[in-house]
Symmetry: C2
Subunit: 255 residues, 2 copies
């Protein structure tokens, strides 16, 4: 897998952050996303100090971070108040991860898939006018490899190539915010894979569409690139939709 730009890779999911801070933060974040600690619940610092057997420093630092992503609100004389989901920074990668690990997983997948449906076609459109020659070639090559992996039934490899493909397109869009969405896309794709929510044989159509996107971008045909990506997204969305039915609805929980 030719890493033409190694410094941009390494989307570190900071998995084994081993400090006390990370441990407590993760635990509380999970609890809030998971619905234990529903909005309106009140915590207090000393209680947390006891519960986690850590010092005030650690607890306060964790609370500051949770406050910065809208999970809590500290009120004097009252305690630490859990805020409703509508206040959360739903774009924070940490939050996404917690939500994907919670019962609201399907709702989160739906949200992100809709976001992708909106953003990726436009990203493809922009990429067509902004991508460099070499990057374009790489993209076409990547699509070819996806085709090969798909035909060979190599799911693992297909997944990685798929993620890489969408990453490159978002990167080539030249929009820093789109680039940042790449992490979300990766979370979604790996999440789908982990939970066996993907067709075991990628559809022949999907393979062709990836190739179409790459080719259109290389030929600087923004409109065609957008169209091809729209189709790709529609298919992804349909697969997602069929999943809700399998797993018993999207557990809406939007607000």
């Amino acid at each position: 897998m030719e890493p033409s730009s190694p410094e941009v890779a390494a989307a570190s999911p900071l998995p084994a952050e081993s400090g006390l801070h990370a441990r407590v933060l993760d635990h509380l974040g999970t609890a809030i996303c998971g619905g234990e600690l529903p909005p309106g619940s009140v915590l207090n610092i000393d209680e947390l100090v006891e519960r986690y057997a850590v010092s005030r420093s650690v607890v306060r630092e964790v609370l500051r971070v949770l406050a910065s992503i809208g999970f809590i609100e500290a009120r004097r004389r009252v305690g630490v108040l859990i805020r409703p989901a509508s206040a959360w920074n739903v774009f924070d990668p940490q939050v996404i991860r917690w939500r994907l690990a919670s019962a609201g997983r399907m709702a989160q997948l739906r949200s992100i898939t809709e976001l992708r449906t909106a953003v990726e076609p436009h990203a493809a459109f922009l990429a067509a006018s902004r991508i460099g020659r070499d990057e374009a070639s790489d993209l076409v090559g990547l699509a070819a490899k996806m085709w090969a992996a798909g035909e060979a039934g190599d799911e693992e490899r297909f997944l990685h190539l798929d993620i890489e493909f969408h990453r490159r397109v978002l990167l080539a869009s030249g929009n820093e915010m789109f680039v940042r969405l790449q992490e979300l896309v990766a979370e979604v794709l790996t999440g789908r894979h982990k939970h066996h929510l993907m067709p075991h044989h990628p559809h022949e159509q999907a393979l062709q569409m990836h190739a179409d996107v790459a080719q259109a971008i290389q030929r600087r045909d923004g409109e065609r690139a957008r169209q091809a990506m729209v189709q790709l997204m529609e298919q992804a969305f349909d697969e997602m939709k069929s999943l809700w039915e399998q797993t018993g609805g999207p557990e809406h929980g939007t607000g």
Copy 2:
């Protein structure tokens, strides 16, 4: 201005957060976004304690928050390292605010405008199938008021109605992530207004397009709603583009 859902309003920009924590956080955040403290710079806690004349607790809590949005990375024996912009959580409202206040303002406006261009049409499309009867009526009414304010040349009022209009559409999309983008849209629109980057008389066309969007959504014609919103976005984008030329380029700074 009929507040049919007062509890959702009040997009508190937390302006006068008066604690020590907020003061130091804001100062450091601004410095990092502003390019003082370029990537690779090293700070250390004691130095910050002295510089801001606050205790270690305050500094550490601030650093934790900065770390959580990707601005810094603490390394033992080294100090606090400033991370490159590519690591930032560019969707964090706080970050957006800092960047809009910095020299990279135009680059930020461009990014968000492109994001809007991608998202809002799809939001309009989704809204057409998900909006409630009353909300749809409100939306049409809002467009009518915009027309009135535009004709009357009441910029202030037009701005507020414009923000409210887009907020309602994003809200009606039923996607929590789209809803969250509303803050960004509001920042952009108010930013444009503050810096006198808007045409003094809203274009007649824009007024009509807002009305078209509202009507299409009410009639549940998703495709037409999308098209109308696309046109609106194209116009917004063109205005933005003409601004870059005025103010001497977008100060690219994307990566």
